[in-house]
């Protein structure tokens, strides 16, 4: 093939990649525990930056690298930040881990509402440490994301802006209101319980930095789970008022908890990208499998405490070994994850304000990076 022919071929391939990639990100509404389009506006920008690199590719070399990469995935090798990886893998990780990290940072806010109000010295200390850990998990995960973003020249500040713009989403549960101290208990016990189920599944993720961060995170989650259990047990063994607030909190949190794992299939909300994370051995189970495990672990415990699950249709089928339950309102879910939940705006506003109001601090201490 002559030089001109080669150029045409490269140009065509570039068009193909561009179309394919852009479509992929704009259409992507849902990716296993990662909701809605994460990089809608910024994808173009990122592609522009990555464009030069991508147009210069040598197709045979790329194919060979991809083949070697998939061999490493198959062999359960760990991929590291500086290793070659296909863009699809990098983008899948960025979407998953940035969402995970930002959810920790945003998830600190609803629980934090109860930090100054915690009812005893021990509870004040326990919940401070717990919320501090959530910020810590956010720190670990954002660092993992930031290293993946290096080729795009993006950093922490860009991630914060993406959150404020609505391009980077956070988990549905953290858009909900908290009303009583029992919410602090339900969040620690059940919301963290749900998170433990999805996070432990990824402890062996193919991406080394994510797996290592999750090791630390899951170890701390054990403390969080017991912190939540401790609050709940004190309430269910307590006075009528205490029993009432814990039941009321469970009633409110049940539906968000079902939503936590995401819809069972893409038919439910339009699209789903569970397959990519499974293909690349980032996780092993589907949304519905996670939800069923959550039921297995927690329904017997909830019932043993004399609490009522607000779903009269809930039943366990011995033959299929599956729980049958009333579906949450997936349309409401779609709205929530588009930042139209009960507290979405207020919490984003708080995060944005606190970040911007003291931006002079970051300006004051900034130094030349060279």
């Amino acid at each position: 093939m002559d030089k001109a022919g080669k150029q045409v071929e490269v140009a065509m391939k570039w068009e193909l990649i561009k179309t394919y990639t852009v479509t992929r990100f704009i259409v992507t509404e849902y990716l296993d525990g990662v909701y809605v389009t994460l990089w809608k506006a910024s994808t173009m920008h990122m592609l522009d930056k990555g464009g030069t690199r991508m147009t210069n590719f040598n197709s045979t070399n790329d194919e060979k690298q991809l083949e070697q990469f998939m061999q490493r995935i198959e062999a359960n090798d760990k991929i590291e930040a500086s290793d070659w990886m296909p863009d699809e893998y990098r983008m899948t990780l960025i979407k998953l881990i940035s969402m995970h990290g930002m959810s920790e940072i945003m998830g600190a806010l609803p629980e934090k509402e109860w930090v100054p109000k915690a009812p005893t010295l021990q509870r004040k200390l326990g919940i401070m440490a717990k919320v501090q850990d959530e910020m810590g998990h956010g720190q670990l995960l954002l660092r993992v994301t930031e290293d993946l973003l290096v080729p795009y020249g993006k950093n922490r500040a860009d991630l914060m802006q993406d959150l404020f713009n609505g391009d980077l989403k956070f988990h549905n549960v953290f858009h909900m209101e908290t009303k009583t101290w029992a919410d602090a208990g339900i969040i620690g016990w059940l919301v963290d319980g749900a998170a433990i189920i999805t996070q432990t599944d990824m402890l062996k993720a193919s991406y080394g930095p994510y797996a290592r961060a999750l090791q630390r995170i899951c170890a701390e989650e054990v403390f969080h789970a017991q912190h939540g259990e401790s609050i709940i047990l004190a309430l269910v063994e307590g006075t009528d008022l205490q029993k009432a607030i814990v039941q009321e909190a469970l009633d409110r949190w049940w539906e968000p908890l079902l939503m936590f794992f995401g819809p069972a299939s893409k038919e439910t909300t339009g699209s789903s990208k569970q397959d990519l994370t499974i293909k690349y051995k980032i996780r092993t189970k589907t949304n519905e499998e996670f939800r069923q495990i959550f039921f297995d672990k927690y329904i017997p415990r909830i019932i043993s405490l004399g609490l009522k699950i607000p779903d009269p249709t809930l039943r366990y089928d011995q033959d299929s070994k599956l729980w049958f339950y009333e579906q949450p309102d997936w349309n409401a879910f779609k709205k929530i994850i588009k930042n139209q939940g009960p507290r979405s705006e207020a919490r984003l506003n708080l995060r944005r304000h606190s970040y911007e109001y003291n931006s002079w601090v970051r300006d004051a201490l900034s130094t030349s990076s060279s």
Partner: protein
């Protein structure tokens, strides 16, 4: 490019649990300078474990290997002469002289009291 100012410098954190243990890499954090990185390191990564010492390294001071350089790490397994493996026959020889070979276990036991 170098003139651009940033608050977000990347620092790698290393720590050791006890005075006698070796340094171990923890995670990395963003800070505007070393002193700030130092006051944040322990509480970010070692909230629940004992710490005897901390090192802070700006990532730009770390020379990392690229994929080509990593190829230099490969090595044939024909280097018995560097290890005791190549001298295993001595054990039998010493038996003839009614003496024991000075193996790793024996030599490393010499640090204690004279027996």
């Amino acid at each position: 490019m170098g003139e651009e100012k940033t608050f977000y410098q990347e620092y790698e954190i290393f720590s050791k649990r006890t005075p006698s243990s070796a340094f171990q890499h923890q995670y990395s954090l963003l800070a505007p300078n070393e002193e700030m990185a130092l006051i944040m390191a322990q509480e970010n990564f070692m909230r629940r474990e004992p710490v005897a010492d901390i090192w802070i390294v700006n990532r730009k001071n770390i020379k990392r290997m690229n994929a080509d350089e990593k190829l230099t790490l490969g090595r044939l397994e024909n280097k018995d002469y560097r290890t005791t493996k190549g001298y295993g026959y001595l054990k039998k020889k010493w038996r003839k002289y009614e003496q024991e070979i000075l193996d790793e276990k024996e030599i490393l036991s010499w640090g204690g009291e004279r027996k």
